[in-house]
Amino acid sequence: MRAKFEYYAPTSLDEACALLREHEGDAKLLAGGTALVMWLRMGLLSPGYVIDLENVPGLDGITYDPAGGLRIGAGVKHRDLELCPEVREHYPLLRETFYKVAQPRIRLMATVGGNLSHGDPMTDPGASFMALDAEVTLRSSRGERTLSVEEFFVDYYETALEPDEILTAIHVPPPAGRVWSHIKFTPRSEEDFATVGVAVTLAGENSRCDDVRIALNSVGPTIFRARAAEDALRGRDLSPARIEEAGAAAADASDPIEDVRGSSDYKRELTAVFVRRALEQAAARLG
């Protein structure tokens, strides 16, 4: 049964924050609607108030500068990020990732901030933002704070957002010459959620790894960094044996649920395989 709610469409961020604070705990934010409206329809959420952010200025826009990096307004649609020329040029990992999310119509509706705020461990963008060391800006009537994307994901569908906070922007540091790779394994159909998702960024030379970030989605209660796998590689030579070891370490860190996409054991095996392949692909791009 779909709950009834009051609908607000504030026209400033301050007004949105005030409404959220006034109805704290009983209000949900609406952006693209692809997650929230579906959950409302299914009766998984029954807020008393829905606050639509569409008319709030300042949540749109993608800006890039070489010194500061990329700033993405939380209300930017997936499709607009995917097609943004600066993203294509300087952050090919993001272009690749967003191109693989669902299908074009959903990408036209769904927002970048809405996706992250939903805290769904099955979705792709969070892993790539984590591999790029991105940060999110959270705003409330009490002020503003910044968290890394890694800190932002807390548990299954749970983020660090307080009930009165709104995610307003995502900041990605300058690319700094790191190479990248991305694998989204979707054996059922292309627009499906990933069975395993891997995002890698790598700094180094020849086959030496100076730094690496490996982030995974769909194989744990949150999107997470495979830190033990990174530690196995950092400051070392990217030999086949080390890459294999990193894959195994990532699989150890995973905690996938059994669902229609496969058993936990199967997904853990896949994690080792796809982390290895993602590392091989990234290593092949090293100068």
Binding site: L30, P104, L108
Partner: protein, 184 residues
């Protein structure tokens, strides 16, 4: 609590009195009375309820009607003008772009949204875009043919010339997307 609002659908204003939890899909079908927009999967996957709101393609099943107040909503009923079918509608008829027809309004609205922004898409761009609309009669090639017929200005050639049709199918099969789809 119900609220009164005006929904502008295909250029006509409709006064409706609806709950804020009403979906655009429900408002179009049950309040405005335009049943051309269909419900399929109800979760934004299938594309049967595709409509255009302020120039952007959306799933009406995942859109609140209240969020569309003051916006320009386009549905399949608004395409024909003075009894003359829109070129996309004519193409779907001429090229057999549908079988059972339930996905067709969504297919055509999706195609219209693409052509409104990009009147000359490549075959691969059309395939990528139309991948968001499912057809359970598996009429994908005829759908692609229909859309490409509009792009290439060949709507009224239809299926009458079998040689033209075969050549078209061959060229669609040879595009890059098809190759990458089958190479795995």
């Amino acid at each position: 609590m119900k609220r009164e609002m005006v929904l502008t659908v295909n250029g006509e204003e409709h006064d409706v009195e609806i709950e804020p939890n009403r979906l655009l899909l429900e408002a179009l079908r049950d309040d405005v009375g335009l049943t051309g927009t269909k419900e399929g999967c109800s979760i934004g996957v299938c594309g049967a309820c595709s409509v255009i709101v302020d120039g952007r393609l959306v799933s009406a099943c995942l859109t609140l009607a209240a969020a569309c107040e003051g916006k320009k909503i386009e549905t399949i009923e608004g395409l024909a003008e003075d009894g003359e079918l829109h070129p996309l509608q004519r193409a779907f008829v001429q090229y057999g772009g549908f079988q059972c027809g339930i996905c067709t309004p969504g297919q055509i609205m999706a195609a219209k949204a693409l052509l409104d922004h990009n009147p000359n898409p490549t075959t691969d761009e059309v395939k990528e875009w139309m991948s968001a609309n499912l057809c359970r009669c598996t009429g994908y090639y005829k759908i692609l043919e229909s859309v490409m017929a509009v792009v290439e200005g060949k709507v009224d050639e239809g299926r009458r010339d079998e040689a033209v049709r075969q050549a078209r199918i061959q060229s669609l099969y040879q595009s890059d997307t098809y190759k990458s789809d089958t190479s795995d």
